[in-house]
Amino acid sequence: MNADNKKDRRRSGQSGEVLLEIHGLRIEGQSEDVWHEIVKGIDLTLRRGEVLGLIGESGAGKSTIGLAAMGYARPGCRISAGEIRFDGVDLSKASEDEKRKIWGARIAYVAQSAAAAFNPAHILLSQYAEAPLTHGLMGESEVKREAVDLFRRLQLPNPEQIGFRYPHQVSGGQLQRAMTAMAMSCRPDLIIFDEPTTALDVTTQIEVLAAIKDIVRQFNTAAIYITHDLAVVAQMADRIMVLRYGELVEEAPTRRMLTDPQQPYTKSLWAVRALRKDEERSDDTILRVDGVDASYGGMITVLSGVTVRVPRGRTVAVVGESGSGKSTLARVITGLLPPAKGEITFEGKRLPPALKDRSKDQLRRLQMIYQMPDTALNPRRRVRDIIGRPVQHFLGLGGAARHRRVRELLEMIELDDRFLERLPAELSGGQKQRVCIARALATEPDLIICDEVTSALDQIVAEEILKLLLRLQKELGVSYLYITHDLATVKAIADEIVVMYQGKVVQSGPKSEVLRPPQHAYTELLLSSVPEMDPDWLDSLLTKRGQTRTEARPA
């Protein structure tokens, strides 16, 4: 068949031959009618079959470069200079028609959020088939056969049937793999992965990483893998480029980059993962949750028999994958969702289950910090008012006393007076989260519930926030109930750990005990799923887990 010949010819390209070459790439972005340079002269070479990792914080220009490798600039961005040579064609000058022929067929793109990238109104198979059919590479029956084959290679359950499901009928991890299959459908020469596992749980992430790594290897596809997670890129890439502010910081083969980073910025990135806290114990209990059952609308039980103890001045980390009931636990403690059974004791006294029955003092002593600082701050109020309001409301301070207190709080979160008059939109992600912390501290609380407070932030910024939380605990003696799915964070901040799975506490105790075997099977699965900086980690883990991988999950 003609299509087969075409495919074969393409596959015959020698591994090691240069596939993509970018020279002096400059990209500008528009904000408020002014063009700013966001990518400042990047050179990049990618050979066939090679996987290149792009890492950096948000705003480093990773995604912009990834898209530019396809000759595409997002609305509001433009490629202002440079050459993007893909297999002999300069994509920066190619016409839309030329590019459309290449996109999907020879260069494919896998986006961060598969859930948002799939059309919810069509079954997976018809979305899979779109590219090969439009490009006229295969007939319909062949597409179906290929799809089943790819689904099987990507270890999707029920490869014959899954194509007939709608996107909402499969899990996030499966969807991300289906998207990889879709990218693979035309056997492209190059795939761009833009943070494909960032939105997934660690336990799911592994499956997707393994599937991607495997299939890229099988088809000898070149890939650009964009992520901010160093441990992930260490598993996937042959070579790593570290970016910052749209400029290249350092480039080296993965192993050399991991063992011997040259630039101070790269070294600081590496150091982030090393934050550790020695555990301290305390018998003085500030909060006790006793045998709590909770459900939404009385139908679906989200928590059953949850018992948690938070010692005074210490940090208890609640870990578990999404859907394990971590955030519901926070809602029960704060009184937003009164429990169906069980009770909550705060400072030895029983806490009224519903928010509206709690006294002002009880509200004052229990505060909360949220995952997304963007939605946790009212975009129309200034920092002065955001922090000043609780000071006035709970401590009854006004005028100059209030102003003094607000400035003290700003100092505590390491921001200066210039931030008083700013709106949340004028702050960076880390600064916003600091303001959230200050708002919680303004009431002089005894316990702060932190709901994934660092997961929306870059690693370096997250590290600073964790250090700030630790310092504040030391100075003010405040206790934390820290909800997270990231075990690196747990190691950095926790004294005690509570592991939750499907609404139940499967294991709890001091950090050292929970992290040390023997563990509950789920704890072990969770712990072993956290990527490590060793490039051989994924392969060795998969060999170790073998075929029994899914059996480790408790029923």
């Binding site: 966001i38 705003g59 509001g76 909360m368 949220y370 997304m372 960076s428 370096i460």
Partner: protein
């Protein structure tokens, strides 16, 4: 779509972060307004000029008008002349003067009615969105019932029951119109009410009033302001229509709707005078719509994709 570029701002560690992040200077209100105006499309500028002109005429009506509002100064239906610029009406009152006073009455009453309808609809909409539960259901269904009856006919029925005094006119139209305001306010406020910062405010023991007016309202203001412009047009048209039907603003008060009706017979003789008040109504409606379109485009973040 948010521009995304805000997020691209370098976020360095806090030690250096105060320095590393370029301080976005806020422009003063005036300079922002003039800047926006310079970039405004022609249609919006035209709308603004027309609206300002109407407001000017309405405010300075006694100064601008050559004769009194209901002063009989000539014969019936006099033709356009130097003495009576647009001629006279069926009672011999100066048409130009009545047009000028009409701006004052018609716009003033429409503005008052719209403001009242926003107070009622906005308050109830905010309450519904914040409290949810049975209050939301009750108000929502009640509004459904009101909206099921065609507005103009409902207003006609109510006006003939309660009598067509000015106060009744304003109250009835405001209440009937507030149903639309309720719907919009509730819809946009519900989106804000589920945000984390509302939950944070509740956890800090803030009362209903505070959450409604300080946390939610500022965030839904842009669509409400735009809606105010549109509703003003509808109220304006409703009043004009009611006046035309004889149940709106009562004589001798000058009002564009009744002016059309009173002089309608002239059309048969090929005189375009009755079209002048009609044109005044149309022009203002178009102008307000232009401005609202532009304002919505600016505030809703709808940007042209190139």
């Amino acid at each position: 779509m948010t521009t995304g570029l805000d997020h691209e701002a370098p976020s360095a560690g806090p030690v250096i972060l105060a320095e590393a992040q370029p301080l976005k200077t806020r422009r003063s209100l005036w300079s922002r307004v003039t800047r926006e105006l310079r970039h405004a499309p022609v249609s919006a500028l035209f709308g603004l000029v027309v609206i300002l002109l109407y407001v000017f005429v309405a405010v300075f009506a006694p100064v601008l008008a050559p004769y009194g509002e209901s002063q009989v100064v000539g014969d019936q239906y006099e033709v356009w002349s130097d003495k009576f610029f647009f001629g006279t009406d069926q009672l011999g009152r100066d048409m130009l003067s009545r047009l000028i006073y009409g701006a004052r009455n018609t716009i003033g009453i429409a503005l008052l009615t719209t403001a009242l309808s926003f107070m009622i609809g906005g308050l109830l909409g905010l309450l519904s969105a914040t409290l949810r539960g049975w209050i939301d259901q009750l108000l929502g269904r009640f509004v459904d019932v009101l909206m099921a009856i065609p507005q103009l006919i409902f207003a006609l029925v109510l006006l003939s029951i309660f009598g067509s005094s000015l106060l009744n006119l304003i109250l009835i139209i405001a209440v009937l119109d507030s149903t639309r305001v309720f719907r919009l306010t509730r819809a946009v406020a519900v989106n804000v009410a589920v945000m984390d910062f509302i939950e944070a405010a509740r956890l800090q023991g803030e009362g209903l009033g505070w959450i409604m007016t300080r946390e939610i309202l500022p965030n839904i203001l842009p669509p409400l302001i735009a809606e105010f412009g549109l509703r003003f047009c509808f109220v304006f048209l409703t009043i004009a229509a009611l006046s035309f039907l004889g149940l709106g603003i009562q004589p001798p008060t000058a009002d564009w709707g009744s002016m059309v009706r009173e002089n309608a017979t002239l059309i048969t003789y090929g005189d375009i005078t009755p079209l002048l008040p009609a044109g005044a109504i149309a022009l203002l409606t178009v102008a307000v719509n232009f401005v609202v379109d532009w304002f919505l485009h600016k505030t809703s973040g709808l940007k042209d994709e190139r």
